[in-house]
């Protein structure tokens, strides 16, 4: 069975953004639960934070495909 270590590396690299996105939405849900009237104000902020955190995972997957091992 063949494969690429890149993908294992990407799996490890995705842990960080995974935790980060979890924190962003945990804060968003918390804030909305405490003050439901703030939901429309919080939503763009939450998605902006999500997008910026996700960027790390995206750079990771791009590099996982770009950086090829010599015999991969």
């Amino acid at each position: 069975m063949g494969g690429s270590l890149n993908m294992v590396g990407y799996g490890l690299a995705a842990i960080g953004p995974g935790i980060g996105i979890g924190l962003v939405f945990a804060a968003y849900i918390n804030g909305t639960a405490r003050q439901p009237e703030m939901q429309s104000r919080l939503q763009p902020i939450a998605f902006l934070g999500f997008a910026l955190t996700e960027a790390l995972a995206i750079i990771g997957i791009a590099l996982a495909f770009v950086l090829k091992a010599k015999n991969g």
């Binding site: 063949g2 763009p44 999500f50 997008a51 995206i58």
Partner: protein, 269 residues
Amino acid sequence: MSHGLVLAGGFTAPGPLEFFFPDFTGKSYDQGGYQVLLTKSAVLLVLGAVLAGWLMLGTSRRGAVVPGKTQFFGEQAYSFVRNGIAQDIIGAQYRRYVPLLVSLFFFVLINNLFGIVPLLSFSPFSRASFAYGLTAMVWIVYNWVGIRDKGLGGYLKHTCVPSGVPIFILPLLVPLEFLSNILVRPLTLSLRLFANMFAGHLLLVLFSTGGAWLLIEATGSPVLKPAGVVAFAIGIAIGFLEVIVASLQAYVFTLLTATYIGGALAADH
């Protein structure tokens, strides 16, 4: 089928070559058809533009004071982007950018949803080049808006020199800010859209071809056929997940475009 990894027993996992279609000459990528001519993805992109325009025109052509069902739907969709994204993020000068944001949102949304429409089942934005093209437009718009508002020097100072920072930190911060605001922004914006669509399509292909292989060709163990059924079930579930991802990515793309425009327009502190 592709150059993915080959498991023991003959199943070929789908790889990036799954995304290369033969162009109009009928030559595939392997045979030297380099996709300069019309491909399936390009046709879908045009179809997406036509559909987005038709949706907006069709729901607004017979405008009435008391909206009917179609007009109501169109107005809801329009005002979601206008009020929920443009007005909230850009602020006072938002009106000028509403057409751009609304068309971006629906163009991206419809193209993303092509990924789960039966028979089409491919999103043009799961090819990086289309996402790059769309983002190049956004990049030009937000930089041009900033330069027109503040002048070239003023805009560069506005984006690259953070205010209220001690002067000895500036040599470190200015290149970083330039890198992050001018160079990395379009990269992440396009790669976010591309990578989400790419991964989603790859998952769908993997679970459907894998499920078919387990059901039809795999032999040797009685567990394999039930596993194929489970793979198909997971594939269907991922199809529903893709609906969410497609809408979310269209929303995030429009939101970030609005944020960049708003950032370029914001007054200096």
